[in-house]
Symmetry: C2
Subunit: 538 residues, 2 copies
């Protein structure tokens, strides 16, 4: 067989040669829509490759983006790595201090930035966080009047370059991109993807075991391109010639649903909180986007009621699981063929409510507490989840976090339960488990039960210290507008969901909103800190 | 990223761990149905690995199969390569002389054989074709009373072995399997797949650019497992945990359609002649299998009328293109997303009637006659089709056929036309083009037009020598039962389809059936020989 390296050119070339007529649509933050094609994107990507050469950046330099989802960000997704350099997508929700640390740690030589994020970059600069950065390139035609190193306009630089660039030979083990992942303690750590891992991930997420997408699809990743490469959707869609709709700026659910309808979106990906809002919007309008085949939900456990609601729309919400460290996609909860004969309740319990079936090439195992033996997949035993595969990291950038690697496996920090039917579910993050009276309580399970209450919009459960029990669960609840909820109702619901008396929370906090981390997950660290200190102050 | 080799264990392990409850159904030639699961198949594959070790076969020995599609054949698909050995699938439609040549050329040390094919193997033996073969293992419980080297019963051998076998380290560049492809002249040539090419092919054909299959599917490959690995479907389905239905023995269209309905088949793959029969059967019954999502047609150009008929059933017939030398799958004609707005006629012309869009990672190019420059994709220019990719061969086994490789590309022997929209179509096999009056006539285009006539069941067009014109087309036509057709009608039809007066055949032959090659394609070599000699005898 031919010795063809699995590098980014394999993703890029088809878009240029066979899909130059396919659209890439960007919904700008200002409400306008930008339309272009893969013909435009690939031409401009080649111009960008030339720009990076012309700026004199080292052949293996790290080039960052600080940007929303857009066609320009997509150009950087290919222009940077295909020039042999490494793309570092910065999370624009991080603090300027953390951003500065990450930029220096990765050694970013240039940053491509959306103009509305310049104030953030100026803060980073003021803190001394741009010491490695020689070039700040602003996505746009104009050059704002700010003090930043090597400031230049993206469009002006592109206009000076021809759209020709030779297909370079890139080893498949060469780095493609870097994402940092925020830990629960300490600084963020860098995950470096290779060309090989990126191509294999793109292929696998496009299968019927992944997102099931092809040239006939229009995909809308409601996941930031700065977070784990928007789950790899931009790579896969470009490779396949699927139409892409990119949503720039903060989310507006009405506009999102408009886009799904207007652009004939077939597959969309996002976190459960997005799908909660989208489900409400579908219900409010009484309309489901007609071509939407399925949506994929990842990043946290979606409530069962949400899964059921999407099924009632005729649009399955497929649960997916993964981490920045695992490609990110590692599993999707597709029902098996024979489950067609199951009744709705059984199908939802045994498949849809699971974290999924591991993707092809990805191995998962649930370890016993001894760290040596594997637990049986009996639907009961709960233990640390370990993962292995061609798009799973074997070390963090510059050797950080070495304790996460164990004999060829990556310790995810999740606690999981494997079922006899081959599916697994995430019981909790190790750090979020509540140890009460010597037994474990799963915060995820309790949240799912609470979010199944019609009165509850969102719920987060955290451990608070307890003199007698060691830890006790505290339920933090956002009540729906106009509704109310009592501790008795909460106890009733949790008992019905199978929680024992000793597991029930003794109190609950009513919040206006659950605080979120930079990637949109519940910020339990903040909740614990808040209610622990309040508690101790009492 | 972890250094995980892309080898067959990645395809096999999930079936064992996560899909042990999923069925593998074999429709036996005697009308019975055998049902088992991936749990059974993987357990027995491990027993087979032990058998091969116990027989003392070299670690890298070549082990052949001479068998119909069945669960046992599937066990060999994994048991042989995962033990480090090389699987050689023998084409049971070849002559005993050719089989003997191939077995010796590949150096097969053992052959797994269906009992009904023993007479064929005895013929090979009588011709001295089993010189390298030490073990003939008969798929079944009993040992027939025949004279063959090292005769043993598969079931008896398996029963002696435990179902444990360690996951061996196999380099991804190691050979996985061999298929021979029959040339138009001379002996068959061997194509050797690697573990890497097999895994990459399995991933890619499972994407929405390929067959679009996943764990929710039930696949029925109506393609022999001895021919180009049944297009890779058994590898992919096992990897994905899709239910598999394997049809053993010669085709019975009524039984095939029964199976599609009874087993809830979602995706099926086969050659156009199968789909012609299936379409008639659907029409006769007035029933289309309710879960059938699409069928894939490869191996030859399907007539437009067939594509239209399947569309009218609500089951798209997707044209695919490839060769044993290209994985085999290299392209599928999925419509692009924006083609949803096209009217039916335009969609069928611009997408469905094309050989397709190249799969991710596969590059195709249409060369000019000079062999140097590439032709423009203008929908007009016709030239040799060349292919490149990680599952395309760079040499035949033992260095045969070296003239097919050109500067990193494989010369397919097909003549193609690329369109501005990125699709390409096969105009002809180079050797089947008709050169008349200094111009080329595409036999494929003429056949498609003829098969669009309601009176015509099948048509093959070949060149016959002509003193004045150099070559002239001869139309060989199978007329539908009860119908008739005249030369005038044929001229009328071809003129309507755009053929010029000088291109029209001056005569046609009415045949009972078009002769087929060992892999079910029209045997034009035989037709040319037949009508050329008859012509010269007149």
């Amino acid at each position: 067989m031919m010795d063809v390296p699995l590098n980014g050119w394999l993703l890029f070339d088809h878009a240029e040669t066979h899909f130059s007529d396919v659209e890439v649509v960007t919904a700008n933050a200002d409400g306008t829509v930008h339309r272009c094609t893969y013909g435009d994107v690939t031409r401009r990507s080649r111009q960008l490759m030339r720009v990076l050469d012309a700026l004199g950046l080292a052949n293996d330099a790290t080039v960052a983006t600080l940007a929303w989802n857009s066609y320009r960000h997509l150009e950087a997704y290919f222009g940077v790595p295909l020039s042999g350099r490494v793309l570092h997508t910065l999370n624009l929700r991080l603090s300027s201090d953390e951003l500065g640390y990450i930029i220096s740690h990765a050694g970013d030589a240039a940053i491509l930035v959306d103009s509305d994020l310049l104030p953030l970059l100026q803060e980073v600069h003021a803190l001394g966080g741009l010491e490695t950065v020689k070039h700040v390139i602003v996505f746009g035609d104009e050059l704002p009047d700010v003090e930043l190193p090597g400031l230049a306009s993206y469009e002006q630089l592109l206009a000076e370059q021809p759209a020709t660039y030779p297909r370079t030979e890139i080893d498949e083990q060469a780095p493609f991109g870097i994402c940092y992942t925020s830990g629960t303690t300490g600084r963020s750590k860098g995950v470096q993807y290779t060309h090989r891992s990126t191509v294999l991930h793109a292929l696998t997420i496009s299968t019927g075991a992944g997102f099931s997408i092809g040239p006939s699809d229009c995909v809308l990743p409601v996941v930031p391109m700065f977070h784990a490469n928007a789950w790899g959707v931009p790579h896969a869609a470009t490779m396949l010639g699927a139409k892409q709709v990119l949503f720039a700026g903060s989310l507006d659910v009405g506009r999102l649903v408009d886009l799904m309808i207007d652009e004939d979106v077939t597959v969309s990906t996002g976190v459960p909180t997005i799908w909660l809002e989208v489900a409400d919007e579908f219900a409010r309008r009484g309309v489901v986007p007609p071509s939407l085949r399925h949506v994929v939900s990842g990043g946290a456990q979606p409530p069962r009621s949400l899964i059921e609601k999407f099924r009632s729309f005729g649009v399955p919400l497929l649960q997916a699981w993964g981490m920045t460290e695992t490609g990110p996609l590692a599993s999707v909860a597709w029902p098996k063929h024979h489950m067609r004969s199951y009744d709705e309740d059984r199908l939802v319990s045994e498949a849809a409510c699971q974290a999924g079936l591991p993707l092809p090439c990805v191995d998962v195992t649930v370890r016993a507490d001894d760290g040596q033996s594997d637990l049986a997949w009996d639907g009961q035993a709960m233990g640390p989840l370990l993962v292995r595969g061609p798009w799973v990291i074997d070390s963090y950038l510059h050797g950080d976090g070495g304790d996460r690697f164990d004999d060829g496996w990556f310790a995810t920090g999740d606690v999981a339960v494997g079922s006899p039917n081959g599916y697994f579910r995430i019981a909790d993050r190790t750090k979020d488990l509540i140890k009460s009276g010597g037994e474990w309580i799963s915060s995820v399970d309790m949240e799912a039960a609470l979010m199944g209450m019609s009165e509850v919009l969102e719920a987060a459960v955290v451990a608070i210290p307890d003199a007698k029990w060691q830890e006790r669960p505290l339920a933090c609840v956002v009540v729906r507008e106009g509704a109310s909820v009592t501790l008795d109702q909460i106890h009733e619901r949790l008992s019905a969901a199978g929680f024992a008396r000793w597991q029930l929370p003794q109190e609950f906090e009513r919040l206006e909103v659950i605080p979120r981390t930079s990637v949109g997950k519940f910020d339990k660290k903040l909740l614990r800190a808040q209610f622990t200190s309040e508690g101790s102050a009492q």
